[in-house]
């Protein structure tokens, strides 16, 4: 068995990060005027993603992971904060709709491969459209060539192009979704739980594919998951989210070996692990640091590659 590299191979790691997220927040309004209530889905979140880096965002359901991905994909407008990509302050320049340039830099892979591939179209459509929208005016032949290449990249045969999504297995579908994202040659792919709808046996395949893409093409990735083990498996950096807050972040293995924030610890202890010699008895729910630190926003640096949100003494 090959031991996997723990650091990204890209030489650009040291240069300015590809994505800088600063103080991002998002409020959702429930109900409508005058009976509105507000839910803060993302609270003052800041992080960076370097070129060629896989960053995992983990956390329990409803903690705001997808919201962050959707904001980065410009499917949602944030309530506040900055998004800087390649040094450009996106929300300041592109108020309402994302430009095609932005779209060609940032692509997304969704959780449910059934839902993200329109059942009415053939596989070919999903790959042709981005090529047509973003590529140069290709001749049909050049287009065919590109399609074949894309399919090969994600490990699918050319004959699949004529099929409809429902004629493919879940894993194959997710590969098509990845190929679609790749078609525009993006700089970063946002993958929102790309494996959680897949069968156990094919998950690893998809994770391996993602890692391969990073290794071979240098694509950055934001990998969103609630499966800590898989985050540890492919992500260089892991960030933990809890109720809208980013509570801890750091180099994946280091973070999981020495979790600092109580929520991270809780999360880790809850993962069933057959091989774990000893389990950690989960503390009672009320005692966890779920809502700790809201608004405090102060970070403790644990190592150059590991930080956590400061926890108020009483709940720590």
């Amino acid at each position: 068995m090959r031991t996997l590299q723990t650091t990204p191979p890209s030489p650009e790691t040291t240069t300015a990060p590809l994505v800088r997220v600063r103080n991002l927040s998002k409020d959702y309004h429930l109900g409508s005027f005058p009976f509105r209530s507000t839910v803060r889905a993302v609270n003052d979140v800041s992080f960076d993603i370097n070129r060629g880096e896989i960053v995992a965002l983990v956390g329990e359901s409803g903690s705001g992971k997808s919201t962050i991905a959707r904001i980065l994909a410009r499917l949602e407008q944030p309530t506040g904060g900055q998004l800087i990509i390649d040094g450009q302050d996106i929300f300041a320049t592109e108020r309402r709709r994302a430009s095609m340039t932005y779209r060609s830099k940032v692509q997304m892979v969704f959780q449910d491969p059934f839902g993200s591939l329109n059942p009415a179209h053939r596989i070919e459509h999903f790959l042709t459209r981005p090529l047509q929208l973003h590529g140069e005016d290709d001749s049909p032949r050049a287009l065919k060539l590109k399609l074949r290449e894309l399919m090969a990249t994600v490990g699918l045969g050319e004959q699949m192009l004529d099929r409809y999504p429902h004629q493919l297995s879940g894993g194959q579908r997710q590969r098509v979704a990845i190929a679609r994202a790749l078609a525009v040659e993006p700089e970063i792919i946002l993958a929102d739980e790309p494996t959680s709808m897949l069968d156990v046996s094919v998950r690893i395949g998809i994770l391996n594919l993602m890692r391969k893409l990073r290794d071979e093409r240098g694509v950055s990735m934001l990998y969103i998951t609630h499966d800590l083990a898989s985050a540890r498996y492919i992500a260089d950096t892991t960030m933990v989210m809890c109720a809208g807050d980013l509570v801890e972040g750091g180099e994946s293995i280091e973070l999981m070996a020495a979790p600092h924030h109580p929520y991270t610890r809780l999360l880790l202890s809850a993962v069933p692990d057959a091989y774990r010699a000893q389990g950690i008895r989960p503390p009672k729910r009320e005692a966890t640091g779920r809502n700790a630190g809201r608004g405090a926003g102060e970070r403790v640096t644990l190592s150059p590659s590991h930080w956590a949100l400061k926890v108020p003494e009483s709940t720590a």
Binding site: M1, T3, E60, R203, I204, P272, R276, G279, P282
Partner: protein, 344 residues
Amino acid sequence: METLIERDREDTGRAAAPVLSVKDLRVHYTAESGNVTAVDGVSFDIGAGEVFGLAGESGCGKSTIANAVMRLLQSPAEITGGSIELNGRNLLALGDEELRRTRWRDVAMVFQSAMNSLNPVMTIGDQIVDVFTTHERMPKKAARERAAELLKLVDISPDRLKSYPHQLSGGMRQRAVIAIALALKPSLLIMDEPTTALDVVVQQEIMHQIKELQQELGFSILFITHDISLMVELSHRMAVMYAGRLVEVAPSKDMLGNPLHPYTNALMGAFPPLSGPRVELTGIPDAPPNMAHPPTGCRFHPRCPLAVDACRSTEPPLLQVAARHDAACLLVSEQAVPSERSSR
């Protein structure tokens, strides 16, 4: 520290008659795209107080077995063979009314999605009370008191009796369903992926609760999940299923330490560990077989790294290959002794 289930209990109740005994069960689905034998000759026993796990990929027939035991299968599904004995009674021979009485009293079930298995327009309380009024002809008031006790058992405040399902969180709903399942103190509880809809922290809490309740009340559990790690933590004994057949049955510890079937082995390897070095995993290549046209011979052979020619043509029987350890693989059966049914 502790694991969820004490391994020592493996030996308890070994002599007693099994709570559930499934023999050579066959279930057939009639479908346009082709007829499917979703469960093809499955046999296993569950002893009193035993937690028996059933693992396998999606579509391999786990839920079908669970539903067959509950006699919930409806057209296009049909039980075409075998027997299901619950506490010595053949469930397949029961008439409608008898069956209705047996359900929930002797065997209860926790469904995969609590959200969908609770009637959205009835309060939790009413849905519990329903069980008592139907099976025990209990007056409403007494039933309500019992319902409150049940909720307390699963750590839900009794004033939630008046709540509707949508007013509870996912975890609470699932616990409410467990409470309903335990209402009549059944001897067997079937749990079909009871926690897949929940996130890890809540899952952990619920599993813990189930374990406590099981130890307290002593019922047996048929536990179904695709998450081997979870199953190994929870069950005494487990079976791995592939494409409608059992491929390996063994005490969980043995299964973990010494998986004999290549499929079991591959399945174990599909879960990245939380500790240790980062090693590359391979998963299982290709997709599970189309059950309408299962492969000949060993059904796993197209994906099996170790497959030999014989695998293509010869169906491997489930044979005892070690003490209380059965497997269905030509490669491991050479040293095996044939067993009539999976032993305990």
